[in-house]
């Protein structure tokens, strides 16, 4: 019986012309439901590839991936879309909000295609943006925009929340606030949150820390006593 999320000897090879680049060369790890996982590694280590594959944006070259008992590595393009649609919430480094839509509408963009979305206004209130509901992204600060992105992701009521460098474009305090939001979401709603970062300082807050290096798993550490966000310094 595989875990909630399980990578089994996952390999990913990119063909760049005549050169083959092995981005992942046999990755194994597992994540439990409701875990807050930090995947850390330097640039080019393969953490983005893991994110892409787990997020259903890319397929594996070999190996198997199970999510909640389904083998997503065998999915076709359409199945992957459905998987993204219902199971994954994505938080981007650069927020990727639709500039033409207000905060509320950006959240709606995601919820309109879900089966069982959360209440939009509640979700926005949860990320503390109830006053900015009808503002456009360009009228918000970076942290506010990222919170909108998180609201958009969690409003879908996903199984997994994937966050790609969520604090990468934010200043320290704002970053911390965003991380807090993620951690709270994980704790309160039982969503598995996977944060990808090159910032090793964040590892302290994860229930599990997976370190990646040169396309391989360097270490998987289970943190018995993860720190609350407030106590993390980076």
């Amino acid at each position: 019986m595989p875990s909630y999320i399980e990578f089994q000897n996952v390999k990913k090879i990119y063909h760049m012309g005549e050169v083959d680049i092995e981005a992942l060369s046999g990755v194994d790890f597992s994540i439990d439901k409701g875990e807050f996982v930090v995947i850390a590694g330097a640039s080019g280590a393969g953490k983005s590839t893991i994110l892409n594959i787990l997020g259903g944006m890319d397929s594996v070259s070999s190996g198997k991936i199970y999510v909640d008992g389904n083998e997503i590595s065998s999915y076709n393009a359409r199945q992957l879309t459905t998987y993204r649609r219902y199971d994954i919430g994505f938080v981007f480094q650069f927020y990727n909000l639709v500039q033409n839509l207000t905060v509320q509408e950006n959240v709606e963009l995601a919820t309109q295609i879900c089966k069982d979305p959360l209440d939009i206004v509640e979700t926005i209130r949860a990320v503390g943006l109830e006053d900015r509901m009808h503002n456009f992204p360009a009228q918000l600060s970076g942290g506010e925009q990222q919170r909108v992105a998180i609201a958009r992701a969690i409003a879908k009521n996903p199984k997994i929340l994937l966050c790609d460098e969520p604090t990468g474009a934010l200043d320290y305090h704002t970053g911390k606030a965003v991380l807090k939001l993620l951690q709270d979401t994980c704790r309160n709603q039982g969503v598995s949150v996977i944060v990808i970062t090159h910032n090793l300082a964040l590892t302290a807050m994860g229930d599990k820390v997976i370190k990646v290096r040169n396309g391989k798993i360097e270490s998987v550490t289970v943190n018995e006593d993860p720190l609350p966000v407030e106590r993390i310094e980076y």
């Binding site: 892409n52 944006m57 879309t81 994505f90 480094q93 990727n96 639709v98 839509l101 509408e105 790609d164």
Partner: protein
Amino acid sequence: MPSSLWKDTLREIKKTLGRFFSIFAIVAIGVAFFAGVKASVPDMKYTADAYFDEYNLLDFRIVSTVGFTKEDVQAIREVKGVEGVDATYTMEALTMVGPQQLTLKVHALPEADPRADDPDYINQANLQEGRMPRTSGECLIEKNDIGDSGLKIGDTIVLSSGTNTDISESLKTKEYTIVGTTFNPNYLSYEKGSSSIGSGKIDNYIMILKDDFKSEYYTEVNVTVKGAKDYNSYEEAYFEITDKVKTALEDVGADRSEFRFEEIKKLANEKYEEGLAEYEDGKKLYEEEITKAKDALEDAKIKLAVGENTLQIEKKNYEVKMAEGKQQLETAKAQLASGQQIYQNIKKEFDERKPQLEEQLTKLEGQLDTIKEQVQRIDEQIAQTKQQLEQPGLTDLEKELLNQRLTSLQQQKDVAEAALPMIEPTISAIRSQLENTQSQLQMMEEYLRILQQQIDEGERELEEGKKTAELQFALAEQELIDGRASLISGQMELAKQEKKGLEELELAEEKLEKAKRDIEELPQPQWYVLDRHSHYSYMDYGSVADRMDGISKVFPLFFFLVAALVCLTTMTRMVEEQRSMIGTMKALGYGKAAIAFKYVFYAFVASVLGSIVGCAIGMTLFPTVIFNAWALMYTIPHIKFVMQPVLAFTASFIVIGITMAAAYAAVYKELMEVPSQLMRPKAPKVGKKILLERITVLWSRFSFIQKVTARNIFRYKKRFLMTVIGISGCTALLVAGFGIQDSIGEVVSRQYGDIMQYDLSVMFDKDASLSQKEEIMDALAKDGRFEALMGVGQYNGNAYDGSETEAITIVVPSDIEAFKQFVSLHTRIGQKEQELSGDSVLISEKLSMNLNVSKGDTMIIDDGDGIQREVKVGGIVENYIGHYVYMAPGYYKDIFHVRQVDTALLAKLNDAAPEVEVTLGNELMKDEQITSVTFYSGIAESFQDTIASLSFVVVVLIIAAGMLAFVVLYNLTNVNISERVREIATIKVLGFYDKEVSAYVYRENIFLTMIGAFCGLFLGIGLHQLIMNLAELESVMFGRNIALLSFVLSFLITMLFSIIVNLVMYRKLKEVPMVESLKSVE
């Protein structure tokens, strides 16, 4: 310029071929349209001019009201600059082909086998089939593909003059065998102008040998000018050469024509006198006839009165006789009655007395018998006694006793016998009395019987006499009634004839007066030196070419605008993408020019290539297509292209300039910013509330995808403009294309269905009298095949507009009310009925456009006699084919001083089947007073064929529309996708299916396409109007209507184009990688 910049630019092109192609394609299309359509004008003119030169078309046609003598021709030949002179004849003639009448123009060939290099052989025949005429009685006829006359080589045609002069006065023979078919540069189109005879339109021409004409004077002189062929006659330089010669020729004309004026006037006066005499004779004849008829009527009247009188007397006599007879009869009857009475009395008496008498008689007879017996017995006793006496022995006593006894016996006997004569007379008296009475009774009976018989007979006779008399009276009365009726009808007929005769006389008088006036106003004979400006085919074809020029001004403008917008949006996007790159270049120290160079050069290369391809394709394709389109109506050989480098360069320069300017405009804004700003990602364009959001009711109903679409549409104004203009252009082209079909297709049904509601028209002979016409009309009115008919006055005249004249048909109905049933006079817009009034005319719409007159204006017309009259325009009526001027009879009289006379008959048939028409046509043409019969079903058909061939224009327009739509939509989608790659990737990551992703992008395309298409529908109406105005023939107006279906189709086809582009771009959209969403903002 550093080589790295070149490399960068060239690689950029290679990398962004789609973008490059957008600019290239729109430039190619724009240039192709502009240069192509524009080039077709000189090409058409050049081709025509080459044809004119090849077949030595006249440069001048000199005509005169009085013809030309040999001296005149010699004088022309001596004019400086004149090259070829062809003094020749032309005339109009009619011929019959089956039931159809053709109006022919007869031209002369100078000799049997004219040499093409003979400068005097002008307007050369361009023989198509057969051979040239060699002897008298042979002719060439125009090769006619469209208005097929049914004539072919070997057929013989018989010409008639169409006037009351015999054609043999003008031609040596009237029968001509067709030996060949030809074209002639003199007649380029199937429209050959108007005629003064027949239907009013020249249907065809024939060429016969000059020797076949019999005329003292040449009717016209064709002249060519030295050196004129070196120039294109559609250019000014040509006229610079010919104008000099023209002036010289006019001078000659002025000198030559002076002295013939009086002669002509005399001739005209003679004719007038002749006419006057004829009129007087007619008048006298009329008066005589009327008097005679009146006398005859008077006689009849008297006879009738006598007859009536006689009848009256006879009746009286009869009555008296009847009374007498009756009286006699009554007397006899009375006699009979009294006789019967007497008879009865006598008989009664007799019957009473008879038994008494008979009894008496019987008694008497009994007595008589008793006496006789007594006597007998006495006699016996005597005899016994006597016997006893004789017996012997008788004593005397005894004897005595016996004697005594004897004596007593004798005594007794005497006593008895004495009683006898007393009784006997009594008996016979009684007997005779009885017998007398009996016979008396018998006589009386006899008498009574005879009397009865007489009475019966008398009664019968009386009865018979009555019957006979009544019959006779009835007959006599009937005769009288008949007599009276015929008297009345005779009187009526007389009145009618009298009136008509009077009318005819008055008409003749008016005509004479008019003729007199005309003679007084007779202009000095003049030579008209007509150059090619007055040449029908030359001008007609030239104006067609010029109309194309008009089209070439509109289309390209539009394509250029779209090209500019396409280039602007494309380059703007490109510059946006390369913002940081521009910043880097700036930071590296490159100047503005060097940086801008890349983009401007990019546009330059695309537009130069586009221009080359556009010129190459457009300048051959369009002239060919356009030329061939007109070739359907013009007899011009193959197109000859003329090099037009100026046009090619102009077109190219304009488009290249436009695209480069657009590219520079796109990059300009970025160039103004400082490098540091450029290297930072551009602040995202702030989302804005659009106007639509303020309408909360509507906005709140939108799904947010609709909201995004709405916001995007209004956010990118350039793209909005480009798409809407481009697509509206596409739809407009489609609407125009389909509209052309609708409008042209409807012309026939409108003209011959809605407006002219009659099925045929019959032209009367010019010299048919009013009563002859009336006879025909009466006969036809009784014919069951006709539903209705009426007479109209129809005249082939002209309308004048400065130097131009338009051939018109003047229609003067005999009865304005009845006319409405035959021709519907109404405006095109609004279909408002127009009334013929007593002080103005109604004119057809195209005529009003050609002459530029409108309601309330005045215009100049003539009714074919060349005398110009001013009329007031009271209204414009819908009409498509031909020019018409409708006048009320009263106004006609006011203007032309002649009353309305029926010259033609309009008729509606109960059944307009082709068989009916053929038999009817044959029947009608047998009548000497009918010169032509025209059935409109035939005309409608041939016209339909001619214009149906124009439908290829629609194909060209649809292709153009398609190209436009593809380029614009391709560009729009391309720009949209490249700009929103990140957004698209994001929504893909969010789990949108491919279809939802494409819907997200395409909704905008589709919506913009719809707006564009919608605008295009309106734009199309305008474009259609414009094309129709430009494409119309001189005397034909096309409709302006576009069917609803055409709008729907245009809209749908535009949407189809959009869908096709979207499908093509779907692949590209599918390939947008999701990892784009993870990249940082550029």
